[in-house]
Symmetry: C2
Subunit: 579 residues, 2 copies
């Protein structure tokens, strides 16, 4: 595949900020940046005290991502959530000794008022949807922190937890609500704004906390929410305590949960150094990864580069490498690249995954990680890749992997081919190119380390029809499989030879760019996740899809709709037809 200069010239001139949203970014930003670090936080404070960490939400009203609103009452925009996501990653990598984390407010009488309504009212549909997706991923990450890294999460609510505020609490293992006659949990989105709680609230109420459906119906249609004993009886919180006992209860629960934690004994973490990146009009360069935009063709090509050195000699040497350890560096870079495309480059229709490197080297890294798989850092790296690959699955762009000579789609990198809507693998060589034919290789990582949000591995989802196909693939672990073998095993979609390659790939990419982006989003959301459903997959499937629909309806976003009229003193006017 090649991008012609002609196409580039025809492409409309686009500034990076062009597609971000309908309103300008604040503070002169030209793009949304997903990289931050605790010293730069404006909204969260991370305090670590022995094996207990506390995350204080204390939103800087003026520290908004876009212009045009203030973040009152600990309400949030994407910028606030980027800090939370960063803090959670740092608890994993920089603070392996932490066994429990308390989420609480740094402000009196309010825990969190949820997503900022004026921000939502003025955001583009694309931003709103991708904002919700990111916040959902962050909350799923909190649950992953507890469920898979043994770091218990306690949400201490001393004040009002409304909407997204309560949804943040719902991600925790244990919710403590102060019983002061006024503090309440609520999901007021429907009565107040004519939208849904969009960050997993309904799914977690129904499926995680298993609140009875009629209680849930009452709760979700009651602007003021539920407090005290009823909140406990209805399973909306786990504990209510009087104001006078609040601090004591929070501290006691943190100690108890920390004591029960299954987290290991590491005392020292590694430093998540800032990613070295350079942005240009045509792409982004990272250490082990490059993003190239062909804006005329509406394609982003992500090329992942294999390791330049053999795996370290020991786990200690890996720790010493820290964030420079290739598998960790690449995961962080891929995550950043995907988020950049999602939120800053709405016009990209398809993401093309390519790779360059020696598949044998990657297999060596996989073996290194497996040899020390109970080491805290290898575990965290596997979990990070799991989350990054889930982020890929949930990216609403057409995904295609091109497997050509010189590529290294082995083990973890091969997951990108299985995460893609299609893959093309060159049969033989490109004319005039003397690189040996492309191979793919499976490793143990492809058979368990990286479940999708449906709870199955990508290969298990792929071979749902016939588990024997999964066994056949498993039997070929560790081998460098050529295009014929990969095709026979069902690992790639098509394996054209050099004569057909350019045309097949070109036609596919042109087609994707020509189709309605919305129908592709719906198609991919339906075809990518066969098999069982989990709370997580239900959030992205059922809840998000309905929310997106509602976000598009005049009753929410029209001139007379609830989002537009919120705070104006005027009541919204609804089209009363039920659909």
């Amino acid at each position: 595949m090649h991008y012609s200069t002609a196409q580039r010239v025809e492409a409309p001139a686009m500034t990076e900020a062009h597609h971000v949203a309908d309103r300008p970014l604040a503070d002169g930003r030209t793009r949304i940046d997903f990289q931050t670090e605790p010293s730069r936080y404006r909204h969260w404070k991370l305090k670590v005290d022995g094996d207990v960490a506390t995350l204080f939400l204390d939103v800087d009203e003026k520290g908004t991502l876009f212009e045009g609103y203030d973040l009152k009452l600990n309400s949030y925009d994407l910028g606030v959530d980027i800090e939370l996501a960063d803090a959670i990653e740092r608890l994993r990598f920089e603070h392996p000794q932490v066994r429990a984390v308390v989420l609480r407010s740094g402000k009196p009488r309010v825990f969190c008022a949820g997503a900022n309504i004026r921000m939502l009212a003025g955001a583009s549909h694309a931003h709103k949807v991708n904002f919700c997706k990111f916040t959902n991923e962050t909350r799923n990450g909190i649950e992953d922190l507890s469920g898979n890294s043994g770091l218990a999460t306690i949400c201490a609510i001393n004040g009002t937890a409304a909407g997204g505020g309560y949804e943040l609490a719902l991600a925790a293992d244990h919710i403590i609500l102060v019983d002061d006659g006024s503090s309440a949990v609520s999901l007021p989105e429907l009565p107040l704004l004519a939208v849904l709680p969009g960050t997993g609230g309904l799914t977690r109420v129904a499926d995680k906390r298993k609140v009875r459906r009629d209680h849930a119906d009452f709760f979700c249609t009651t602007e003021e929410g539920v407090k005290g004993k009823r909140a406990l009886d209805w399973r909306l919180v786990d504990e209510v305590v009087p104001s006078s006992k609040f601090e004591e209860a929070v501290a006691a629960r943190a100690r108890e949960f920390a004591a029960r934690s299954r987290r290991g004994d590491a005392k020292e973490g590694i430093k998540l150094a800032p990613l070295a990146r350079s942005f240009s009009p045509d792409g982004v360069e990272y250490g082990s990864l490059a993003v190239a935009f062909d804006r005329g063709a509406r394609i982003a090509t992500i090329t992942l580069r294999g390791p330049t050195a053999a795996p370290p000699a020991s786990a200690e040497a890996m720790v010493a490498l820290g964030a420079a350890f290739w598998p960790l560096a690449l995961a962080r870079e891929l995550d950043d690249a995907i988020l950049h495309i999602r939120l800053n480059e709405f016009d990209v229709a398809a993401i093309v995954f390519k790779s360059s490197g020696d598949p044998g080297e990657i297999i060596a890294y996989e073996q290194f990680l497996d040899a020390d798989k109970d080491h805290w850092l290898t575990r965290e790296i596997r979990h990070l890749w799991k989350r990054v690959l889930k982020r890929v699955d949930l990216t609403s762009r057409s995904l295609v992997t091109l497997i050509e000579p010189g590529s290294c789609f082995a083990g973890t990198l091969a997951e990108l081919a299985f995460a893609s809507d299609r893959s093309y693998m060159l049969l033989g060589r490109h004319e005039g190119d003397n690189k040996p034919p492309a191979t793919v290789a499976l490793t143990a990582a492809n058979f368990g380390a990286y479940p999708m949000s449906n709870g199955l591995t990508r290969l298990a989802s792929r071979f749902l029809a016939n588990p024997a196909d999964l066994e056949a693939a498993n039997a070929e672990r560790g081998k460098l499989l050529d295009a014929e073998a990969a095709q026979r095993l069902g690992l790639v979609t098509f394996a054209p030879d050099d004569i057909d390659w350019d045309d097949e790939v070109r036609v596919f990419l042109e087609e994707r760019a020509s189709f309605s982006p919305d129908s592709l989003t719906g198609l991919e959301a339906n075809l990518r996740f066969a098999g069982p459903e989990t709370t997580e997959s239900k959030i992205f499937a059922r809840l998000s899809a309905w929310q997106n629909w509602i976000f598009q309806r005049p009753n929410a976003i029209g001139e007379e709709g609830a989002l537009k009229r919120y705070g104006t003193g005027q009541k919204p006017a609804f089209d009363t037809r039920r659909v």
Copy 2:
């Protein structure tokens, strides 16, 4: 609850047809009627020959439900599907000796072109969504016919099965495709119309037939579809046969499937007599059920009446009663009433279920049905109620059950309370009313006969948090439970006394009418279906939600959108941003 005359007077004058769609109904109809019978079919022919039935689709181009389009190439609108749904019911009740049914075309070279595009392009959003819901329910009913009534379904495709045509095939147990070099199966909605296959196609491809996701991606983005060997290799069909062997293969497969059928030995069915109904501006009167509209308050009250006679003396006597047998009559009437509200009364915000009768009599009927539960007719009646109750679950209106003195919410009728978003049960008596306090009663029917689309009973879904609650309810089977007991067991939401009753109910109903209808639809779709997911629930949750979103997007329905421009020769112009 009472409807004030004042409210009625304030209500805008509405003709019944007002909300049906943006275009007028054809042939002077004033509403969509869900009742039909074979002698009135314009599009299907039902031929019964021993234990094999054949349903021929031979659409009358001019026999449209609305004005403004022709049903070319065996394409369909809701009117065509109402006949199919009717035919399926008649196979159940009128032809118990049939063990296999063949679905095929009555036209040469085309099986079915799917939902009519011009119909879709001109339909209101509310009609489109409810049209898709009904067609989905019909296809789920075909699968229920096979899965639970042992009547195997074979789809014989001799020509093109495109879009909804292939989706109809997907509902069958066995798909035979002629291999003539041109006949193909296809889902061309995305490339052709910028929408999704909306009748379960994506879900059945991914989850029922377990087509590999990259194959599915190719298939669903390829206008011309897939034929011959590839269709078989990719699991899109079960059998391909040359033209010369087609009739032979269809007949052979029908015989084989009929021979393997688990259907019983009944030789004679009962006649599904036309429902006696009378429509007035304020409601509909059926034999055992009444619908009353309060259009000012946007409420439909459905009052179900208990039996007027004891159960028949024997199964033979039940067969002799036929369609007049109370449980069967009531199920058919409730189904018709729900469909009437869904498609003809879009402005109804809430459906209120009430009942009148003797709960003891209902328990007697439940016992009668259970005593003969292997009788073909009692089984079909239970399955019908199961489908009708699922239809209630999937009705996007707020549902509330009011349990007052004189009501008979026992067994099957109690399911309506569990299907409702909330229920209110009067504690004690209404002042000045000497009827004894209300009771509810559980029977065996509440613990297995009526799974929801998630595969669980309504009580199991309700008590997901604590299976002991389900056991506690089970222990009270057969007892007449007063409001206190029902409340303690978690069977009703609220149990106000006479002093609070009117206000509580009024406030609830006023609230529901004041909320955004769209957000209620999304809320209810998320809260009603906790627990596991099935192919069926995924269709209504994931697929329908995405399709509804796409149906609302300018890329599909805008002036430059694909639905609007279809057939004009002009290409659609898309907003290229991915969301």
